[in-house]
Amino acid sequence: MSNNNKKWFSLNLGRKEKTSSGSCSCGKTSGGCGSSSDSHHMTDEAFNEAAIHASIGEERTKDGFEQVFDVKMDRRSAFKKLTASLLIGAGAVSTSCSVISGDESKEKAQIDWEEQFKGNYKLMTDKEKEGTVDRLVRSYQLRTGKNISMSSKNAEEDVLFGYAFNISKCQGYMDCVNACVEENNQDRNSQMQYIRIHEMKDGKGFNFNEADDNYYHEVPAEGHFYMGTQCFHCDNPPCVEVCPVQATWREDDGLVVVDYDWCVGCRYCMAACPYDGRRFNWSKPEVPEAEINHNQHYLGNRMRKKGVMEKCTFCVQRSRAGKNPACVEACPTGARIFGNLLDPDSTIRWVLENKKVFRLKEDLGTEPKFWYFMD
């Protein structure tokens, strides 16, 4: 696929053309389309069998599942946990065979077991994806008595998401930040935020060093302008290259996503991201039950556990359903524009074609799909 297909400006620095996508019919300009079922792929059964076979003795505590579902369970003492970790396999089996425990706890144990040894979402077939989503929904129901809806919708054809940010319009209200936190069920304890708004002084240019990304005063402040950053969904994302287990990848519609259940928490991707786009769950994320957004996507805002990476997904649960991300919708000034780069009639295309746009750190060759412009 030649570069002439590109619908936007590109430096093409350090860009490896991935030849495997040559026969791709979806018109994507970058590699990887539909190539997810490669030789690593295993069938569900084969995978489970291999995993179970090799994982006996792997450290595993049932508490991992507490993490998954963000539900408090009785705490065991730390030492007990250490020993228990060696016995998880046996533990899960015995729970599921126990006569005393009811059907529900058997089902829970069954789900836990299958979730523990499931494969990487990226390599799953659509049926397997549905399977894990169903298990997660059912498990949430069993644990909290509440229903959630979770989607496993794949990327649509002829879609490549992009984002543009109008620096002239942004006034630093931070409504986007709050909307993002609420939409994406981010940890309230550590005040995790995907978006940072940098307050810069007029007349100093784009001087991030002197900018303040943590201000608490009335906005817009006299003599300042504002610039938002988040994950830029790079088209050549360094964070994806470095992940040792392919727990993070670029989807065909350009979204860079993380499988929270597959991530091992090494934080290599965080070190590799030049845009401060990633956030780590240093402790168990807490969201008050009443504030949980029940409209979820497996790759998006479903509940995370401790020790995994997460990031902005352009609200995959919304964008793949044809809606704008929460930040775009929340912005009172209209500074944020989101859309399909492959659709010639989209607003984002109009901006790219008619405004003088630029991107941050273009010299790194990461090809962010996030542009800045001014009126």
């Binding site: 792997e58 990487n120 060093n209 470095v242 040792p244 597959w262 928490g265 845009y275 769950n281 240093w282």
Partner: protein, 405 residues
């Protein structure tokens, strides 16, 4: 069948040796066990509450664990400086030292793996990283390379000495044709583990402090200084506490290795400093932070300004033959060199990579007590493993441990 019997007897005999010893020995092992248990307790707290109990944050996402990991890879790689002359060049002097060196490599590698696991957010899903069972992002991710080379090196460093000791245990000579190919392989392998570990950082365009072609070579130079320095110290201790004879000549030869490596390391340091400070660019800010602090934030200053003078002092002292041949001075130099490189290749390398952050934010890092506890525990684990290995090896080499038919 016979092999199995010999092996069984070897295990029994070595268990016997490691559980018997002088009072000092028992005290040492008890101390290590205590520190290890304390470390395990700290780790259990970390498991319970997550990595938030460490000083790491989204801004500085790697800290003490990864620093120690990086440094220890270097220590492990250094064993090879002794392997090469002994096995391949038939240099007899190093022969006694080499088993110790390889034991040290094994202990260092075990510590490396322990530090990586301690640093992980999800140790329970570690199996995702096992090739074949999980998904191994090879060859794209340098971390997968590192997993392969570290485990391969661990395997080499266990099998070669094991083969030799196993033969000696039966009172036979080890066959050169068996262990020489392994020894040669391990020479290349040692360079590989260190380069690959350097590439882990060097390959990140996001972090200008690391994204620098000199990082790999400097890793090698500092490793070949710090590792043998540690070996000299260990040999000195073994010499004074056991009957295992190590000639002065051997120590002097290793001292030569340390000296040359330390000199090269210093030259590279000067080259790096020149580049960062003669024509400072936006990318020199991390170095500024490290050496002078930025915006009044200067947590690393005491560290780096301890390391640099120690490094220079040790290198200068070692350069003079008279001083180097005086064992008191030599041991002192080795000690301060080891400390200096630990700071430089650990804290001084990993932490400034994150400061200032991608958008210039300066957030400092300080390890917490729990983090330090786990770190000490892992170091104790390393010392424990090494003591066991060394005691058995020395027993066999002295002829005390022999297979009784």
């Amino acid at each position: 069948m016979k092999r199995l019997k010999v092996f069984g007897s070897l295990v029994k005999d070595s268990l016997d040796t490691i559980t018997h010893g002088s009072k000092k020995y028992h005290l040492w092992m008890a101390l290590l066990t205590f520190v290890m248990l304390a470390g395990m307790y700290c780790y259990s707290i970390q498991l319970e509450h997550g990595l938030s109990v460490t000083g790491m944050t989204d801004r500085v996402s790697w800290g003490l664990y990864i620093s120690n990991f990086t440094f220890l890879v270097g220590v492990a790689a250094a064993a090879v400086m002794l392997v090469m002359p002994t096995y391949v060049l038939k240099d007899i002097d190093f022969k006694q030292a080499v088993l110790i060196g390889e034991g040290l490599a094994v202990a260092a590698l075990i510590m490396c793996l322990a530090f990586v696991i301690a640093d992980m957010g999800g140790p329970s899903v570690l199996w995702h990283m096992i090739p074949g069972i999980g998904v191994f992002n090879f060859p794209n991710s340098m971390l997968t390379w590192d997993v392969l080379v570290l485990n391969g090196y661990l395997f080499l460093n266990i099998t070669i000495p094991f083969y030799i000791l196993f033969r000696h245990y039966q009172g036979k000579e080890a066959k050169r044709s068996v262990y020489i190919p392994g020894a040669i392989l391990s020479v290349f392998w040692a360079v590989a583990i260190h380069l690959v570990t350097a590439f882990l950082y060097q390959g990140l365009q996001a972090r200008p402090f690391w994204n620098n072609a000199l990082l790999g070579p400097r890793f090698l130079a500092s490793a070949f200084a710090a590792g043998p320095a540690l070996i000299i110290l260990v040999l000195a201790i073994i010499r004074s506490f056991t009957e295992f004879k190590i000639q002065d000549k051997t120590i002097k030869k290793i001292a030569m290795v340390v000296t040359v490596a330390a000199q090269i390391n210093l030259i590279m340091l000067i080259s790096e400093l020149f580049k960062e400070f003669y024509a400072p660019t936006h990318h020199s800010e991390s170095a500024y932070y490290l050496f002078f602090g930025l915006d009044g934030k200067d947590a690393l200053l005491p560290w780096i300004w301890t390391a640099i003078p120690l490094n220079v002092l040790a290198t200068v002292l070692l350069t003079f033959h008279k001083l180097r041949n005086n064992f008191k001075v030599l041991f002192f130099c080795c000690f301060i060199l080891f400390v200096a490189i630990w700071i430089e290749k650990g804290f001084g390398l990993i932490v400034p990579g994150f400061i200032p952050g991608p958008y210039g934010k300066i957030a400092e890092y300080m390890p917490t007590g729990i983090e330090i506890g786990v770190t000490l525990g892992i170091w104790a684990l390393g010392a424990f493993v090494f003591t066991i290995l060394a005691k058995t090896a020395i027993g066999i080499e002295l002829g005390k441990l022999r297979y009784k038919k």
